[in-house]
């Protein structure tokens, strides 16, 4: 093999601490190396041409590039090598930046280490074999999980591009949290007015199959080729017959027993219900936990009054399977609503604020319902306890956010803006009312955001007080809020009529479970994790599964919509070709050696190991061995490390190659 070595300075990144010329010179003497050179920016066009030209001039059939992490430019260099007619898998990267220059200070030490790493890569490339990428077909259908604004946006984008979409929502209606909001910052346009047309568009779109009141139960397969099992929960209403007239809801005798989820527990609803009048689809469900029929069998009022005979008490959950090529996760968020320390939890709760104890201490979504024209007070400001107009409202930010003691260390990002909006909406309607906002920092990065907050302060007279509130207690119908203005250094006590807590955004309680079902990573908070925070922000590390909206991290509507469109674009990129290319560096079983212990199957994080039966000519079972599903295998090597009989190898990273690398260092 004729090997060429190319050392990149990475501007000053490597060059500052590694003597690149010395490395290149030393590499020239390694056995097998016929050409060695260093250059300021190897990834640049001239740099790549240097490699291509050398391949031609020196008839190279092996290339080692000493540069940044292979995460960064392995693809770039492999492509350059391939363009010059050499198999791309005969190109190896030695990481001289993250592994050397960024972690060492002494130039001599760093240079010696760089030389070692090059020697190491040279020994590996000698044992590399030409590989070809694996090709698999693509099913051009997208599953979107979650029907809030992110899911709606992603579904519409993909569907409008002409691809089929299956949209799964676990609640009876799509719309998500955005449908609950009053007006939206920084433009103060009505949330429902901009959202409901999009909901109807989804419902009527010929390319979108909408499955509400449904949940994803199982995901099998791999990028381009998923098989998804969906549970369509029983509504006890035949959706082919129901016209959404609402007679059943009106006549349902259960009116007070169930709290309205849509109104955030501020009102009650009937046992058979649609969450809100603009629900899509406008087909009710029966809440069996309160319905008299399901508890005692003694009522069937809804069935009696239904003119379409659509009530169907015997309905059962249905299991559907869908063939899917790409999945977009858009499951959204919940609000942190804990008053006391929950049992068996590290979260301590906010007993000092009396949430859950005092009726007029509410959270941001409850305030949205009160402020909303479609809400329980038709948008008039009344406090929940006695319906009086609150003349003094205190807003408290960062409740559960930026609080590693009682909540979460992260910033929930949207609260600064919605709190300013809340205070503004209140001041617009209650002119003689006083609004106080306790804050720590005002985080208003975004187009017209800072201007919006300043407007609340300068024009609408909202009083901002810099400090966290210590405690709230009730005295004579007022809520005594104990704070401190840390700017003036004076204690502040406010006797408020109502208190609004900007509670933290948290991941859906079942997010981690869903992540396991779907097979994507999640962080300690339950948020789904992207592959690369900067360059691949909407992709999960599992191929073909993309992320949109607040299921990834706290974010507002514009950010969620942008992310949803990005995820949709990623799905469409996948659909751009009929066949999918995958890295050939996957596990391979030596069936002669495999003893069928299936330790590999147990440790495989991607469910890529299957059981293969080996039979003789007569069809008698000889033995069972492990078999690697090349579509699922991500080439992580865990099976390789686990196999007791050494009968699984990772192509491109065989034991022989690894040992050769290690020996080169000794």
């Amino acid at each position: 093999m004729k090997i060429g070595v190319f050392i990149c300075h990475c501007g000053e990144n490597i060059g500052r601490t590694v003597d690149c010329a010395r490395v290149s010179k030393a590499a020239g003497f390694f056995p097998g190396v016929v050409h060695s050179v260093d250059y300021k920016y190897m990834c640049s066009d001239p740099g790549q041409n240097l490699i291509k030209q050398a391949i031609k001039d020196f008839k190279l059939d092996g290339v080692v590039v000493g540069s940044c992490s292979p995460h960064m430019h392995e693809k770039t260099f492999r492509k350059a090598v391939a363009d010059a007619g050499v198999n791309p898998f005969l190109c190896e990267i030695a990481n001289l930046r993250e592994h050397v220059s960024w972690v060492h200070e002494d130039i001599d030490v760093a240079t010696d280490k760089a030389i070692d790493l090059i020697r190491f890569a040279v020994e590996k490339v000698k044992r590399n074999t030409p590989l070809t990428t694996i090709k698999v077909p693509v099913t051009k259908r997208t599953l979107v999980i979650g029907g809030g604004i992110s899911g709606i946006q992603a579904a519409l984008d993909v569907a409008n591009a002409g691809y089929e979409v299956v949209l799964v929502e676990k609640e009876p209606s799509i719309g998500g949290h955005m449908s609950q909001l009053s007006e939206t910052f920084p433009t103060l346009d009505c949330s429902q007015c901009i959202l409901t047309p999009r909901m109807v568009e989804v419902y009527q779109h010929p390319k979108i199959k909408l499955l509400t009141y449904s949940e994803v139960e199982k995901v099998e397969g791999f990028i381009g080729n998923f098989k998804v099992t969906i549970r369509k929960k029983a509504r006890y209403v035949d959706d082919t017959k129901c016209t959404g007239c609402g007679d059943c809801m009106q006549k349902c005798p259960i009116k007070k027993k169930a709290l309205s989820e849509f109104d955030e527990q501020l009102t009650t609803r009937s046992a058979i219900y649609v969450p809100f009048p603009q629900a899509v689809p406008n087909i009710p469900v029966i809440d069996t936990s309160v319905c008299t029929y399901f508890k005692t069998g003694k009522c069937s009022m809804c069935k009696k009054v239904c003119g379409r005979d659509a009530i169907f008490f015997e309905q059962e959950d249905q299991m559907l399977t869908e063939e899917i090529g790409a999945i977009i996760m858009a499951t959204g968020y919940k609000l942190y609503t804990i008053d006391k320390k929950p049992e068996d939890s590290e979260i301590k709760g906010y007993g000092e604020y009396g949430y859950g104890k005092y009726k007029d201490v509410i959270d941001g979504l409850q305030f949205e319902r009160i402020a909303s024209a479609s809400g329980p007070t038709s948008g008039e400001f009344m406090r929940p306890s006695d319906g009086k107009t609150p003349k003094k409202i205190v807003f408290i930010q960062c409740v559960g956010s930026r609080d590693e003691s009682k909540g979460f260390s992260y910033c929930s990002k949207i609260c600064c803006m919605y709190t300013a909006k809340h205070a503004m909406l209140y001041k617009h309607k209650v002119h003689d009312g006083e609004a106080y906002v306790f804050y720590m920092d005002i985080r208003s990065g975004g187009k017209m955001y800072e201007e919006f907050v300043r407007r609340a302060i300068e024009e609408d007279g909202v009083k901002y007080i810099r400090g966290r509130v210590s405690r709230i207690y009730e005295e004579d119908g007022k809520y005594i809020v104990k704070g401190e203005d840390t700017l003036a250094g004076v204690p502040i006590t406010i006797d408020a009529d109502m208190v609004v807590l900007a509670t933290a955004m948290v991941a859906q309680p079942d997010a981690s479970k869903l992540a396991q079902t779907v097979g994507i990573p999640y962080d300690k908070y339950g948020y789904f994790v992207e592959v690369h925070p900067k360059l691949r922000p909407v992709e999960s590390s599992s191929g073909g599964i993309f992320l949109a909206g607040a299921c990834h991290s706290p974010r507002d509507i514009p950010d969620s919509v942008a992310m949803a469109s990005a995820a949709a674009a990623k799905a469409m990129v996948l659909f751009g070709s009929d066949m999918l290319e995958r890295e050939p560096t996957i596990a391979l079983v030596n069936e002669n050696l495999c003893a069928g212990c299936f330790y590999c199957k147990k440790v495989c994080a991607y469910n890529a190991i299957e059981i293969k039966q080996i039979k003789d000519k007569q069809g008698n079972l000889i033995k069972e061995v492990a078999f690697v599903n090349s579509g699922l295998c991500q080439g992580c090597g865990t099976c390789n490390a686990t196999c007791p009989s050494k009968s699984i190898e990772l192509i491109g990273y065989t034991d022989e190659q690894i040992y050769a690398e290690i020996s080169a260092l000794m």
């Binding site: 720590m440 400090g467 401190e484 840390t486």
Partner: protein, 185 residues
């Protein structure tokens, strides 16, 4: 990336951290401690400001504040701190370094009380109220406060005329000697 080799010069902040084992920079100055402090109205500086002084290296300001002596150690701040910063412990440490540095204590009567109290413990191993009141009153010349409550307590046998001396009295004394906070100036 380059790293700078700097020699760290020890400050009073390090003395405080030695006692508390917590980084003063943990505090992000939200003021929840001050908002809930029962002594806040009697203090000159807000409790969060004391931490700020240390963060800024304004040690004299912190040590000269009446706040550090008025802190009642009720732990409300430590309990509610969103950063798990134990401010009550931090206040203990600031007081201790203030004594070490021999600063003029603003709340003299409070310190005199603590000294009078500890004197009884040092001498007897347990609290001795009559001795405490005697020593405290001698130190402050505040001879007449609380005199109205004493006769009843004497009658009820709650004020012991003679101290109870623990057997390990000498050991207690040696504990005091070994842990005494010495002025370093």
């Amino acid at each position: 990336m380059s790293h700078h080799n700097t020699t760290h010069v020890r400050t009073i902040s390090d003395d405080i951290t030695d006692i508390t084992s917590q980084n003063p920079e943990l505090c992000y100055q939200c003021g929840k401690c001050s908002a809930g402090c029962p002594m806040r109205n009697y203090m000159d500086d807000a409790p969060n400001v004391i931490v700020r002084y240390i963060q800024l290296g304004l040690f004299e300001k912190a040590m000269n504040s009446a706040t550090i002596w008025l802190c009642a150690g009720c732990l409300t701040c430590s309990s509610r701190c969103p950063k798990n910063f134990d401010l009550a412990k931090f206040m203990d440490a600031v007081r201790e370094v203030a004594l070490r540095n021999g600063v003029k204590v603003k709340e003299k009567t409070i310190l005199k009380f603590h000294k009078a109290f500890l004197k009884q413990i040092k001498n007897h191993g347990r609290s001795y109220e009559v001795g405490l009141v005697r020593d405290y009153k001698m130190a402050t010349f505040d001879l007449f406060s609380d005199v109205e409550n004493s006769p009843k307590m004497l009658l009820d046998g709650k004020l012991n005329i003679f101290p109870h001396n623990v057997k390990g009295k000498d050991k207690i004394k040696s504990i005091f000697e070994k842990t005494e906070v010495k002025k370093c100036k």
